[in-house]
Symmetry: C2
Subunit: 414 residues, 2 copies
C-alpha cells in the first residue's frame, strides 16, 4: 500500500498525555466558529495504550508485536460522529469490523459524547482490548456537523470529525475514510480537503445495488451528492463508474445505462435528453442506452447513471422494499396449518433470505471523483451497516482504485 508523504501544512502534536492532536488547516476566508479548538484534547487516558500514528508495519517493534498478518492490515479513518446513532453504534460496528476484516481504525469523535456512548453500550472491555491490540486508535474532534446543517459548515467547523477523518487520508495516515454523517458535508469536506480529480466537476456517490444474479452487482451513481445535475456531470459520472466497475468490480467491459422513463432516446426529462447524445458519442466506455426503473436490478447493466435526487430516492426505496417484503413474508408464510409446519422447516433459509434482502448488508456508498477513498454510510447505519461499509472501504483501498481513478483524470482531460 503506497503511503503519501505528510502534507507540510499539517502536522501532529503528541500531547503531554500521549494523545495526538491534529492541527487542522482552517480556511482563512471563512470564520472558524468551532469554540472547542484547542480545548478538546482527549483528556482521559483510560483507553489509549500506545503512541499513535505509526503506519502499519512501519516500526520493527510493531512488526514484532502484531506479527505478519497484522502488518497486512490497512488503516481506515472513521468519522465517529456521523449518523443518527453515532458515536456508540459506529464504534460498535468498528469493533466488530476489526475482528472480521484486515484493517485498523483511526476513530475520530468528540471525547465527551464518545465516553458517554461507551458507558451506555458497555463497550469498555471490547474497546480496551482493541486499543491494547492496536486495532483502534482514538482521535479527538471538535463540534460535529449536524445532519440538518448546510454542507458548507465544514469550512466553519474546521475540527469537525468529518474534516479530521478526511485529513487523515490526505496526509497518508489512512488509506480511506468512512462516514455515516451528513452526505453533503462529507462531499464538501472531501472537495476542500482532498480535492477533486482533474476533469471532474462534481464528485458523485456510487452505491452497489444487488441484481437478480446473486453474483452480480450494479453500480448506481449518483445516489445523493448532486441533487441538480448538468449533462456534463452525468457524462463524468459515466467515466468514473466505468473505471470503478472495471478495476474494483473486475467487470471487463462494463455496460453503462442512463436512468430514464423509456428505452427510446426521445424519452425523458430535459437532463436525460441532453445527456443521451453525450454518452452515445463517447468511445471510452460501452453505453448501451436508457435504463428504465425496472431494468436497474435486471443484471443487464453494470453501471447506471442518474442525477443524485433520483438515485437517492431509488436507493432508499430499495432498502425499504426489502424490509416491507420481509414483513409480507413474515405475515403470509406461516398462515394456516400447512404454513406453520412449512415455515418451521424453513427457518434457516428464511434467515439467509433476510440477510440477502437486508439493507444493512449493503451499507456503504463510495464518493467517486475525489482525490482519495471515502465511503459514505446511511444516516441510519447500525453496527452491521458499519461493518459492511468498512468492507467496501477496505476493498477499494486494497484494489488501489485511486491510482486507476487518477489515470482516469488523465483520460478525461485528454
Amino acid at each position: 500500500m503506497s503511503q503519501k508523504e505528510p502534507d507540510s501544512q499539517i502536522g501532529y502534536l503528541h500531547s503531554e498525555d500521549t494523545y495526538p492532536e491534529l492541527i487542522i488547516e482552517c480556511d482563512s476566508r471563512s470564520l472558524c466558529t468551532d469554540e472547542a479548538v484547542g480545548k478538546d484534547l482527549w483528556k482521559k487516558a483510560k483507553y489509549q495504550k500506545r503512541p499513535s500514528f505509526n503506519l502499519v508495519g512501519e516500526t520493527e517493534d510493531e512488526q514484532r508485536t502484531y506479527g505478519k498478518s497484522d502488518i497486512d492490515r490497512i488503516w481506515v479513518a472513521v468519522d465517529g460522529m456521523g449518523g443518527d446513532y453515532a458515536p456508540g453504534t459506529i464504534l460498535e460496528g468498528c469493533l466488530r469490523a476489526v475482528e472480521l476484516l484486515p484493517l485498523k481504525i483511526r476513530f475520530v469523535a468528540e471525547p465527551e459524547l464518545f465516553d458517554l456512548a461507551v458507558q451506555e453500550l458497555r463497550l469498555e472491555d471490547k474497546l480496551q482490548r482493541a486499543l491494547s491490540n492496536g486495532l483502534i486508535e482514538l482521535i479527538p474532534s471538535g463540534i460535529s456537523i449536524a445532519m440538518s446543517e448546510e454542507p458548507t459548515m465544514v469550512r466553519r467547523k474546521c475540527r469537525a470529525s468529518i474534516n479530521i477523518a478526511m485529513d487523515l487520508v490526505r496526509i497518508g495516515r489512512a488509506t480511506s475514510m468512512y462516514s455515516a454523517g451528513n452526505s453533503g458535508a462529507v462531499m464538501a469536506s472531501a472537495i476542500f480537503r482532498l480535492g477533486r480529480l482533474v476533469g471532474i466537476d462534481r464528485p458523485a456517490i456510487g452505491a452497489l445495488f444487488p441484481t437478480k444474479d446473486p453474483n452480480q452487482q450494479v453500480l448506481v451513481l449518483d445516489v445523493g451528492a448532486n441533487t441538480d445535475c448538468k449533462p456534463s456531470y452525468l457524462h463524468q459520472f459515466a467515466l468514473l463508474g466505468n473505471i470503478y466497475s472495471q478495476y474494483v468490480l473486475q467487470v471487463e467491459q462494463p455496460r453503462i445505462g442512463l436512468i430514464n422513463i423509456g428505452e427510446e432516446d426521445c424519452k425523458g426529462n430535459e437532463l436525460c435528453l441532453k445527456t443521451y447524445p453525450l454518452l452515445m458519442a463517447e468511445n471510452r466506455f460501452n453505453f448501451v442506452g436508457n435504463c428504465e426503473g425496472r431494468d436497474v436490478l435486471s443484471g443487464n447493466f453494470d453501471v447506471v447513471i442518474c442525477d443524485g435526487f433520483t438515485g437517492n430516492v431509488m436507493l432508499k426505496f430499495l432498502e425499504s422494499v426489502g424490509s416491507v417484503l420481509l414483513e409480507v413474508l413474515r405475515a403470509e408464510l406461516p398462515r394456516g396449518r400447512r404454513g406453520k409446519v412449512g415455515s418451521a422447516f424453513l427457518q434457516r433459509n428464511l434467515v439467509r433470505i433476510k440477510k440477502r434482502l437486508d439493507h444493512a448488508e449493503h451499507g456503504g456508498a463510495l464518493l467517486l471523483g475525489i482525490n482519495g477513498i471515502s465511503v459514505i454510510g446511511h444516516g441510519s447505519s447500525k453496527a452491521l451497516s458499519v461493518v459492511s461499509a468498512l468492507r467496501l472501504a477496505y476493498s477499494a483501498a486494497h484494489h488501489n482504485v485511486m491510482s486507476d481513478l487518477k489515470k482516469l483524470s488523465t483520460a478525461i482531460v485528454n
Copy 2:
C-alpha cells in the same frame, strides 16, 4: 351514472354493414396524416352481432335481454392498440374483465391487426360469446400512435385508437377509458379531447403503491406525465391527490408528503426546495412534510407528490423489485432437504405472496386533472394487468370521482 349529451361536433354513422364509424373531429390547425381515414371501416361482419352504442339499460329490449345485473354494468372504452402486446393481449384481458367485473367494453382497434391477433391467440369463440352477450363492442380505428412517437402525434393521427377511446368518454358513450399505450400520447389526447380541469396546468398520472399494511395503499403522483415540473405543478398534484384519496380511497384526512432526499426542509433539489413552502402554506390539505424514498411504503403517507421522472423510475423500480425478490425466494426457499420439505408445505401461501407482489395485480394508473376518467396501463401490460386496470377504471367511475374533481376545480380557482 350520469351520461353527457353527445357533443354536437361528433356524431356516429352506422355503416352499411352495421359497424359504427366515429367521425373524428380533427384539429384544423394541424395536418391530419392518417391516410386510413374513411377507408378503415371494420369490413368483416363475422364478429359483430348487435347494433352498437345503445347505452346500458337504455332500451327496453336491452333491459329484457340482459336482466337487472347487466343494467348495472357501465361502459368503458378501451384503446385496443396501446401497449407492447396489443391488440391481442389487451383483448384477452378485456374478455376476462367482462366475466369478472360489472362492465361492458367498447374496444377500439385497427381491424386488420385485430383480426390477426384474434386468430393468433385463438380468441374467436370467446370473443364471439362476449359480442353476442353485448359485453364487448368493436370500434374500428385508424393508424395508431407508436410507443416511440411524440405525444403531439395525437393531433395528426386523428383517428388513432387513443383519440377514439377518449372521444367515447367525451360524448358520454363510455364512463371512462383505458390505454396501455404511449402515456405521453394518452395525456396529450386527454388534454385535447377532454380538456383540463379549471385551475390545473398539467394533469398527472397517479399510481397506487402497496404499503406495509395490506389494507392501505399510497397514491403516488406524478408517475410519468410530466418529466420536468414546476413547483406550481407539484402544488396542484397535491390538491388533486388529496381529493382523489378522500373520495375514491375513502381516506378522511389524507397525509400528504413530498418526495425528497431528506426529512429536513433544507434538503432537496431546487424543485423541492421551492415546492416545500407552497405545500406548507396550504390549508386545504394536510401536508405532513418530506417523504424519503424509504418512507413511501411505510404507510405513514396517503398521498406522495413528486415530479413525473422520479415517480416513473420509482414505479417501475417497485415492480421489478417484486419480481427480483420472487426469484430470490424461488432460489433460496427450497435449498437443502428441510427447505424442500418446507416449500412443499408452503405452496399455497407462496402463490398468495406472489400475487401480493406481482405488479400485474397493480396494473393501472389514473390520469388526474382532466375532464374525464382515464386509466393508463403499463406498456408491458399482460392480460392480468388489463383486468386490474379495468377494475380501477370501474372503481373511479363508480365512485363518481369526476364530480368531486370538478368541485376541486372550483376550490382551486377560488
